[in-house]
């Protein structure tokens, strides 16, 4: 077993190594063939190959020295539009040496930029379009302003299918020489839901114990990675102890740094596993979906999830009354 993060070690280097997003990969390959790319928006959920696609594209286009022609910025780390603008300007305005006359700027988590920042970015994109092409990466393209969207070729990434994920994991499993039972693979797919980064992380964490990986190992690893007990939080809420369940929520978010999206995914799974009456499951699914959507749009995780817990408290009350 190797001792670095596998998610990075086995990140595809060339477009031809990517197992999923077939149509997108084909189009990107055609860009490489034409030696030219438009500005792009890669939108889609985490762990579906957006960043990897952009890196592979650059690699295929420029060859081994691709790093010199590429810059990665992360909108949620580089605070303020001025940082982005200055960095982008300095990078974008100098012409690239070599047969391809432009460089590539990857702007990750672009949906975290304010509208003002995006407006400024739009002008930069226009001014330096000859010398620099932008790949904007985001979860949700709706948060990118129209004028930018209309200047970019859109690519919509989707979660990996079970087959694609298995194909990819098999390669890692072979190279790392770990033993994974079928139930283990199924469990990894269930907990990752087609998010490949999460799948590989779960695999590596499960493998680190040094035993053959079955379903139980996977669930226990994911449970430990997400130490607070979502099920207990739900039970507290439905029993009417809203304050207690909100405390649990706080613990998850503030103490363990869990992502709201992870918590809501688990709530969703738990509700359908629970013995809540069937028609209530659907009602609750609607609420969960609404809250999930707000989280994607960048709402406050604790406040939104608390509203969901309050709804569960209400559901528990109604159920007790037999409505």
């Amino acid at each position: 077993m190797s001792y670095e993060m596998w998610a990075e070690k086995y990140r595809p280097k060339f477009l031809k190594e990517m197992v999923n997003q077939k149509e997108i990969v084909e189009r990107l390959k055609s860009f490489v063939k034409a030696r030219n790319i438009p500005h792009c928006i890669f939108a889609g959920p985490p762990g579906t190959g957006k960043t990897t696609g952009a890196l592979c594209l650059a690699h295929d286009l420029y060859g081994e020295g691709y790093r010199e022609h590429l810059m990665e910025l992360n909108a949620s780390d580089e605070r303020g539009i001025n940082v982005v603008r200055e960095t982008v300007k300095t990078f974008a305005r100098t012409r690239s040496i070599g047969e391809i006359p432009f460089k590539i700027m990857i702007l990750d988590e672009a949906d975290n930029m304010t509208r003002d920042a995006q407006q400024a970015l739009r002008r930069t994109m226009e001014r330096f379009t000859e010398t620099c092409r932008f790949i904007l990466i985001c979860n949700y393209s709706g948060k990118i302003i129209e004028p930018i969207q209309s200047r970019c070729a859109p690519f919509r990434f989707t979660y990996l299918s079970r087959e694609d994920q298995h194909a990819y994991l098999q390669r890692v499993i072979q190279k790392e020489n770990v033993k994974v039972l079928d139930a283990g693979l199924t469990a990894i797919f269930e907990v990752s839901g087609g998010d490949l980064r999460r799948a590989v992380n779960a695999l590596q964490a499960a493998a680190s114990a040094g035993k053959p990986i079955d379903g139980e190992t996977v669930y226990s690893v994911v449970g430990r990675a997400n130490p607070a007990d979502v099920r207990e939080m739900i039970i507290l809420a439905m029993k009417g102890d809203f304050v207690g369940s909100r405390d649990k929520l706080r613990e998850m978010i503030l103490k363990y740094g869990l992502a709201g999206s992870d918590i809501i995914r688990q709530i969703h799974i738990e509700i359908f596993r629970s013995d809540v009456p069937e028609r209530w499951k659907i009602r609750l699914a609607d609420t969960i979906g609404e809250i999930d959507f707000r989280l994607i749009q960048g709402a406050d995780e604790e406040v939104q999830l608390s509203a969901l817990l309050a709804r569960l408290t209400e559901a528990g009350y109604e159920l007790k009354r037999g409505v």
């Binding site: 001792y3 988590e109 304010t114 992380n201 680190s208 909100r246 709402a299 939104q304 817990l309």
Partner: protein, 420 residues
């Protein structure tokens, strides 16, 4: 049950009263002088800033000397008629059971009239014929309305206690409540109260009730500006408003930061709206307010702020349909902010580790903390060798390794593996 700590921990005897030793000595010798007949000054006028222990001193004194305390405050004697109604108590020769009595007129600042008419005059008349010691209490003795009254009184000034004395008092309360409190935390509470013991104890209760520890960080976030009283008033307006206009007015009434108020409302909804359906509705209103906050951030269009305010005030107020206002429910400090303060170091460490991960793994540091760090943590628990490899690969220092490993033993094992 909820009891105000200012009442629960009120000193019963003079030995427990903090500060103002000289004033109290003066008061005692004056009271004792009544044993040798009616003294020249039949009343003592205690004055000084709020919360320095004037009333408490008189109550403790009466307790120590086994005297019957007849206590009246402003609402009982605002006018001449009101004073006359109980003036007889002071002019009687003996009490019912033959004991000694002391008459206390508290909050004299609230009285009407002057030496010639109204309440002040009635008080003067009462003093002139008093057969028992009369004690007057006010914040300002030098109010012109009291100029004649002063002549009949022994003036006793109560001063603010020192910071040290306030801290000592807070420590005592903490000890009997079983709270381990940092000296710095108590000092900050004492300082912020402006050496007003009552307000300091109130603050302490709001911050520390139900907890076993109180750290500096727990206290530090409270800014002077968002003083409790102001916020409490706003909250009261919101939670008890009858219509939207009233609820919305809460915001205009006070200079409170909307973000801070949001946290207060968020914290207190479940305690105020106890019916599950009302709770769900109010939390949803607040969550919607949050959605609008997000829209403001995204568009920088501050006109949308009005909808945030609508939802967090009127939206919450109108959710009360079935929850009965069940007596007085105290407002709580936003636990969340306390959590944020308490977990600050942890989050700082997480952020640093997140940056390390980001350098290697093409994700933002925020996402690294949320999505990758949890798995690294599991690996650090299970496999010291792999953990050491990852630590080296990410270039983590020993502090970071210690944080992720979660225990000294594991951290040591990992560090040992670093060399190999």
């Amino acid at each position: 049950m909820y009891a105000a700590w200012t009442v629960k921990h009120k000193p019963r005897t003079l030995s427990e009263v903090v500060g103002n030793e000289e004033a109290i000595r003066e008061l005692i010798s004056w009271i004792n002088s009544w044993n040798k007949g009616v003294p020249k000054k039949r009343a003592a006028f205690l004055y000084g800033p709020p919360g320095v222990g004037k009333t408490v001193a008189v109550e403790a004194l009466a307790y120590d000397l086994k005297m019957e305390l007849v206590e009246k405050n402003a609402s009982d004697y605002r006018t001449a008629e009101a004073v006359q109604r109980f003036a007889g108590l002071a002019s009687q020769y003996t009490t019912l059971f033959g004991g000694k009595r002391v008459i206390l007129l508290d909050e004299l600042d609230g009285i009407t009239g002057t030496a010639d008419r109204g309440g002040v005059r009635a008080v003067i008349e009462t003093i002139k014929t008093a057969r028992f010691p009369v004690v007057l209490i006010a914040n300002h003795a030098y109010d012109p309305r009291f100029s004649t009254l002063r002549r009949y009184c022994l003036l006793v000034e109560f001063k603010k206690p020192t910071i040290f004395q306030v801290i000592k008092r807070l420590k005592k309360v903490c000890a009997s409540e079983g709270i381990m409190a940092d000296e710095r935390a108590l000092r900050l509470i004492a300082e912020r109260s402006g050496r007003d013991v009552r307000s300091a104890i109130n603050d302490l209760q709001a911050l520390a009730q139900g907890r076993s520890r109180l750290t500096y960080e727990d206290v530090a976030w409270l800014s002077e500006r968002d003083r409790k009283e102001v916020i409490f008033n706003v909250l009261r307006t919101i939670f008890y408003a009858k219509d939207c206009v009233e609820a919305k007015r809460a915001i205009d009434a006070a200079d409170v930061d909307p973000d801070m108020l949001f946290q207060w409302v968020y914290e207190n909804i479940p305690y105020q709206l106890t019916d599950a359906r009302d709770l769900a509705m109010a939390m949803e209103a607040l969550a919607k307010a949050d959605v609008y906050r997000g829209r403001i951030r995204a568009t920088q269009n501050w006109k949308l702020l009005r909808y945030v305010l609508d939802l967090m005030t009127a939206g919450v107020a109108m959710s009360r349909r079935r929850s009965k206002p069940s007596g007085w429910v105290p407002f709580r400090f936003p636990e969340r902010i306390r959590w944020l303060a308490r977990t600050k170091q942890q989050r700082q460490m997480q952020r640093l580790i997140g940056m390390k991960i980001r350098r290697r793994m093409h994700v933002s540091s925020v996402r690294a903390v949320k999505e990758i760090l949890p798995y690294i943590r599991v690996i650090f628990e299970d496999n010291a060798e792999m953990a050491a490899g990852i630590a080296k690969w990410l270039d983590l220092d020993e502090g970071m390794i210690g944080y992720i490993a979660g225990s000294k033993g594991r951290a040591k094992a990992i560090v040992r593996n670093l060399g190999s």
